[in-house]
Amino acid sequence: MDAAKQVAPNETEPLSWAEICARYPDQYVCLVDVEAVELGSPEIKTGRVVGCGPTRRAAFDPIRDLGAKYPRHSVRFTGVCTEPLIRPSLVIDDETLEILRS
């Protein structure tokens, strides 16, 4: 089958973010046709779910080979992560400094 004509097996209708969280609690979802609350906002207004699962990889797998059909996507976690963000501290050598300045 032409890859461009393939569709993720479980593509939903457009859902609000609240509906997505209620339908797919505490898991990763892969979304297409995402509409943000406003231009450039990280807040999602609506999107179609094309994959879900316990890991980011599992959520994206249904469309991994369907880039022609789904050229743009977004993977989000519907739960709340309470782990603190541990920011990495980059070891900067002279070569790294050149990259940072480029």
Partner: protein, 133 residues
């Protein structure tokens, strides 16, 4: 002078912004922490793989110190990187796991230094002033 305005989300007192990252296979939107304390912009490995990159596309090894010790990652150039309405082609990022389900990476100073910006926390907005070079 061009001025832009973008909203952000304040989550656990972190500033979360939307990013658009283009790779060889597709384009993805990501949730990144605006981090003026980070020298480099960082993306998590799973996001990089979803875009169609592999570790073989890296051009340099990278090393970070974290609370649990030293971790090895790598540098990679993504085809296009856009945040706050500013787009940079062929942009160098570091790739490391962050161990946080809601965050896909950090926007560091190697991106932010190319323009002026003003964070307005109470309004949840960031004002961007593009600089002509």
């Amino acid at each position: 002078m061009t001025k832009l305005s973008r909203s952000f989300v304040r989550e656990r007192e972190l500033i979360i912004v939307d990013a658009e990252v283009v790779g060889p296979a597709n384009t993805t939107n990501a949730r990144l922490v605006l981090d003026t304390g980070a020298a480099a912009t960082t993306l998590v490995p799973e996001l990089i793989e979803d875009l169609g990159y592999t570790r073989r596309d890296s051009f340099k090894k990278a090393k970070v110190h974290t609370a649990v010790g030293e971790e090895k990652g790598y540098w990679l150039r993504v085809a296009e990187f856009s945040v706050l309405g500013v787009t940079t082609p062929n942009f160098a990022v570091t790739v490391f796991p962050l161990g946080h389900q809601n965050i896909d990476g950090l926007v560091g100073m190697n991106f932010l230094r190319h323009f002026n910006f003003e964070v307005r926390p109470a309004e949840r907005r960031i004002l961007v002033e593009l600089i002509k070079r």
